[in-house]
Symmetry: C2
Subunit: 665 residues, 2 copies
């Protein structure tokens, strides 16, 4: 045990409380209750337990700390300042919740050094931490415990444990026996509506045990007890949840222990009274010099360990060092372009009529051998998503080098864990489910887009083309709903070549996530060229020009409907109407091109028809209000897929009719 | 206990197995494993336990049966046929998974009588059943146990219990002590990827106990044990989960107990062997006459109870009968229109500058007194969502007449429970959360849209206008992502009058759900008229005409940006440019009007600008590719909301600039 006496501990913890109160008060907005209640837990972590070097918050082998209860952001900002993370000054704390500050309302890892992940939407931090702990184990298995050996600590609130994603996350962590994951639950018994007893009566300790965790209760204001519990957790072969009984707004005489301490400034009077009760002197944002000095000492306590780590790292073979650095920098392997081009050429030489989900598997078969950092998985739909390439090995407690994760029927935790795997560093990752179940994973996908994490979602069964499973399983609006998300790229490739190009785009884009929407049904190979250029990368391109003169009709289609466009073009030609076909594997990417590029691709044919087995929403930007749209106007229906297509009128004949109606008007 | 001997039970259960195998085989698609494995459990429920009258599957006091594991739909179809639900014939079973049949791939309550809810997306049935059990308790408290006294039974699979929503649902049910909810878990240890042990190790019995349930294990192929467990459950003061250990594909010699029995036809050989092993004779879809007769007897066993119920119902006061019937028919109270019109007139007489979330509360204050069936609630954001009207009482085990539900931080289960409350009958319902967290609830919202359930989502903090909480909490794409969902209506009212009209639309629309996207910040009241006509009900209308001649510019806006449009119109007038302002509280509703109505509202001004603090996606249908859009092109940012609006250029000046650029071009 560390020798920090209680009075010193209290001073350290009260510095957090003081800054948190002042920050919220100055912003006239924010959450003082959690930082004040959890200050003791956080102080134990950052002064006695965690291995970190505040001067270098990117040290690869640091212990991770995830504030899942992101609304308590002032706790984190106070810690970054007190421990001395470069760039976090008192002035930053004073700008809490102001535009472009390093101290936004919820922790944003892209705004502030030292923040491991963006949190706020409840449950996300916890589930993301599960991915971090998985990545730690995988990376340690590959590079050795000498350079990868750290814990992931989470501070979670009642809300984190009420959200459904928490079940998926803890069941996954328990199953994987992620013993280096330690969750501190801030058990303060208060939520926004009042005492937690009005909405919850779960025995969380028993619940975690049922999910394969160690779990125990401690007094969240007793530093010795907290530390002892963590030491026990560190020795366990299971993940641990420590229920820390705390008082929200600890120290505030009137508001402590009530929901009034949760989400609004204390007010000048209560703030002053709280500081008095806690024995805090000095003005707003003042930290006594000796207290700051002590905190800075803890922030630098890991310098020696960091130095030793550097020495151990330097002792690795050059090959290992280079690979480790490449991987941490998210640099792609040099051979990637080459194998994808070779794959495209092989497809041109021997065209295939296969589902794009199968085409994705073929792409993975060539990518994985040159990309050891690619971690794939599926939410229990491996045989349907085709996410498991030749020679893949499962990631299990006994096979930590495995790169294939059996996520179980847990789309949400899968997406969050993929964020964590990516944030941890050392890996790129992708996971599969049915496209319609993107809805289950959406909050985590949004965080990937917000954080700019290059996660790949392999989402198969991408339309009514899945047939018999019916409308509950047929995505109709999912593609549109994902296209409208900032920084999310959606590809719906039409054949095996476009599928390879979509994979290439997804891997080359290091700044955001990509959805691959893939068919269940077989599709003809329509592309007849294979150059090094990724033709899908501008979102759209002319697949077939009009023959015999200027195009009278432009037909736009994505994915499985591209062959309908090709067939319609032929039928129109028989009627003497010249049509071109534009493949649009990524509508929003096409709309993100400059106007000249867009114009060139969209073209100037007077009649524009889009064909997509989804809703029209978004297509007006290409075809206009008066353009024709052959697609879905309702939910789908259960039946063999060819019947379903006919039933909803998504056929070459319907395209021809829409074009001729306009042609003859 | 009932006196059905084992050999008779086996014949009854095997009839289910036989039809399920044949249905899947004929369709060449489907899931035989669950019906075969769970046939004993289902047989016990439908022959010994449940109180129902197959001839009238709409009898209000029937026991509910929810097949949460919707992929096992042949189980349900077989039961409907065997018990004799009108309209389900052998021919329907033969059309399993064919277009427009009564036997789609997953159970669809809108296609088939006798199906309580549409299932398939895992976890939804379980969480919906929680709402049904809540509604039963509420309705019993109001009308008495003589006419409302039934159980809700759920058959759930491993997948149902792995999905996160299951945690929210069982925690809510345990907290509410919904003792008439009984969940039969089909514990077959198999998922699509293989044995469940590759992805899960949760002790489900312990987990349910931790969440306040009774829970026990039984042999799922022992009818006596199953029945005894259910009898114990019926006496409990808690909800009960019975883990029924079963063999997936029970009876299939080679595939039983493996994932090969799960989701594909057995194949002719295995099917024949299974029938032989089970002692089933006769050709495909043949049920021995004595077995069918026995089943029909059970289907009619509730006739007497149903008759007695009718007598008890007839003995109620006329007032109670009329009210019960009105409520079950989802007919609105006669006074509703009147109080809303009076409310609008009062607002015109005394205009208010308030947030639309507050305006929603004012609307509820006048609606709730005349609409006793309205059940409101919030996912722990009551003081933020303003969902709790004056005089509302909480729904708790001790106050079952309460109409306000404290859902806890459980958006997903809230949305599913609202589906269940609506499906049960007797209530209309609405629930609140932040708009950005629509993402957490989306799968259940989609089912509401698919089933056509008139649920109301009160989603506040509807844009960057929430300010300091930052991009994790600022919806940017949520409005677009909900607009593109079939049968979902999204209203983003601009002031207190439009908010009242949005509520009116939501309540009058009995065929689908409505999202009310409401502001955190105060908004001026812009409407100056109050007629009985709901001007918002066509999605858009001209708020201000151009002055001094034909409009040169049309400005379209929703919600909080309408006042920006009004201000821009004034600035443009100062520059001699004539602009009109069109309020668009519901874009997709406007686009659903006939072309003439749309044209009249959209107008023919050469310059079109839309203003909305969200993404452009969808607006091109109104403004065209060359129209101006003042809104969001990225995620938001943390800061005081006026700063955030300026930062992203959503201001009257920006509107003027966009208009003048086009005017001068």
């Amino acid at each position: 045990m560390t020798s920090i006496d209680r009075s010193q501990h209290d001073k350290l913890a009260n510095a957090i409380r003081s800054l948190a109160m002042d920050g919220v008060e100055q912003a006239k907005s924010g959450h003082p209750g959690l930082p004040m209640g959890a200050a003791d837990v956080a102080t134990v972590l950052f002064t006695r337990v965690m291995n970190y070097d505040a001067a270098d918050p990117r040290w690869p082998d640091r212990d991770r700390f995830v504030l899942s209860a992101g609304h308590g952001s002032m706790l984190l900002y106070a810690l970054l300042y007190l421990t001395g993370v470069p760039g976090m000054e008192l002035d930053d704390l004073k700008k809490f919740r102001q535009l472009e500050s390093k101290t936004p309302g919820h922790p944003e890892n892209f705004m502030t050094a030292g923040i491991e992940t963006t949190t706020g939407p409840l449950g996300q931090g916890l589930a993301t931490a599960v991915g971090m702990a998985m990545a730690e184990r995988m990376l340690a298995a590959e590079f050795g415990k000498k350079v990868v050996d750290h814990h992931t600590y989470v501070l979670a609130s009642d809300g984190d444990l009420m959200e459904g994603i928490s079940h998926e996350a803890i069941a996954l962590a328990g199953h994987q026996k992620l013993n280096k994951l330690i969750v501190m639950w801030d058990d303060n018994g208060i939520s926004i509506d009042g005492p937690l007893t009005i909405s919850d009566s779960v025995d969380q300790v028993a619940r975690f045990k049922a999910c394969g965790w160690r779990s125990e209760r401690v007094d969240g204001h007793d530093p010795e007890a907290i530390e002892a519990a963590i030491r026990r957790a560190q020795k366990s072969n299971k993940p641990t949840m420590i229920a820390c009984k705390t008082v929200i707004g600890f120290g505030a005489p009137k508001k402590a222990g009530t929901s009034k301490a949760h989400g609004e400034p204390l007010g000048a009077e209560e703030l002053a009274a709280a500081k008095k009760a806690l024995g805090i002197t000095g003005g707003p944002f003042e930290v006594a010099a000796d207290v700051l000095k002590a905190w800075r000492g803890f922030g630098a306590a890991g310098v020696a360990a960091h130095k030793e780590w550097k020495e151990r790292f330097a002792a690795l073979s050059e090959r290992k060092r280079t690979e480790f650095e490449r991987r941490l920098a998210h640099k792609l392997p040099a051979k990637l372009d080459k194998v994808i081009l070779a794959h495209k050429k092989a497809l041109i030489a021997s065209p295939v009529t296969i589902a794009t989900r199968k085409a994705s598997e073929l792409a993975l078969d060539v990518i994985e051998p040159v990309m050891p950092e690619l971690v794939m998985g599926s939410a229990d739909l491996t045989p349907s998503n085709n996410t498991r390439a030749k020679g893949a090995e499962d990631f299990t407690p006994k096979t930590p080098k495995g790169r294939y994760v059996r996520y179980g029927i847990r789309e949400h935790a899968m997406a969050a864990a993929m964020n964590g795997i990516t944030l941890h560093g050392g890996f790129r990752t992708g996971g599969g489910t049915f496209l319609v179940f993107a809805d289950y994973a959406r909050p985590s996908m949004r965080l990937a887009a917000l954080m700019g994490l290059p996660v790949v979602y392999v989402m198969t069964h991408d339309s009514i083309g899945l047939g018999e499973d019916g409308p509950t399983h047929q995505p109709v609006e999912q593609i549109a709903s994902l296209r409208c998300m900032p920084n999310m790229h959606v590809f719906r490739p039409a054949d095996a070549i476009e599928t390879a190009e979509a994979w290439q785009f997804a891997l080359e884009n290091s700044k955001g996530p990509t959805v691959l929407a893939l068919s269940r049904q077989n599709l003809a190979q329509l592309r007849t060229d294979a150059t090094a250029t990724n033709r899908s990368a501008k979102g759209g391109y002319e697949l077939l020009a009009a023959e015999g003169g200027k195009a009278q009709v432009s037909l736009f289609a994505s994915g499985s409907e591209l062959e309908i466009a090709v067939a319609a073009r032929k039928l129109l030609a028989e009627k003497g109407v010249r049509a071109r076909v534009v493949s649009v594997p990524s509508l929003e990417l096409l709309l993100a091109q400059d106007e000249a590029t867009q114009s060139a691709i969209i073209g100037s044919a007077p009649i524009k028809i889009a064909i997509e087995a989804g809703v029209r929403f978004g297509w007006d930007a290409v075809i206009g209000h008066d353009g024709g749209f052959i697609g879905m106007h309702s939910f789908g229906a259960s039946g063999p897929y060819k019947d379903v297509y006919k039933h909803f009128g998504i056929t070459p004949d319907a395209v021809v009719e829409a074009a001729m109606k306009r042609h003859n008007a």
